[in-house]
Symmetry: C2
Subunit: 136 residues, 2 copies
Amino acid sequence: LFDDLVRFETILWNTVDARLRAECDTSLGSLNILMVIDATPDCRVQEVAGALAITVGGASQSVDRLERAGLCIRTPHPRNRRSSILRLTVAGDKALARAGAAFDRHLATLLGDPLSAAQRDQLAATLKTLRASLSD
Amino acid sequence: LFDDLVRFETILWNTVDARLRAECDTSLGSLNILMVIDATPDCRVQEVAGALAITVGGASQSVDRLERAGLCIRTPHPRNRRSSILRLTVAGDKALARAGAAFDRHLATLLGDPLSAAQRDQLAATLKTLRASLSD
DNA sequence: AAAGATTGACTTGTCAATCTTA
DNA sequence: TAAGATTGACAAGTCAATCTTT
């Protein structure tokens, strides 16, 4: 079971990543961060790390890469000078729209098509249970 | 759904990996390779790559690390001098036994306990379906 | 001292180029 | 030329040490 879980996740990630790079010139890792920044009001580096289950150091470096690519910027936090608020640039918004659409499309065929609606709901529920039980 | 899948797999992997390093001084990545070599008759680098869904280059480097750690050796392939057959050393066998037991124990509590038997069977079946549908 | 983030050294993977044998 | 593997440069994460601000 563990083996199927890990191997499926690996292959799924690599497949989607390869297609995004080919079609949109955006990696799946970058897209994930763009989505978090877009979905989180006043997003800080901490929130990126939490949402993606990576360390703060790793999140900081990822934001560096996005900033170098011109997709996001760090703006000074209004009431805490230790921190920054992350915002998408216009280019970042466009990249998110393009890559996000491709992402949804590919997931629908890779995750949705092979499963019945009932199976999909069951899988989602089980994963939610498991994920919650690990957060202790 | 994709998010829960990827995040759960990440957290599960990191949790098990941390426990194995603490208890057995063996990483989860190394253990995975030891298990493949042990389970595959006349195992070559190719088979390691295939079983773990990584590239041949990555598998070769992983085997390098195991060999440096004294856990496995490359022996000449009897009828094909391009290739090698991988074998566990005595130390590799011991490491596999120790870490494998800890691995099973932790997975039982992390994957088994939170789910009913029916849920577990359902999850295994779904993952098998999905993994098979991706191998095209 | 603790919170937020950054940085540098290291791990483990990818890909492309290369080497050897079939 | 193909198959099997190795190597070197790079990508993206970890951790520990550090810096600044609270």
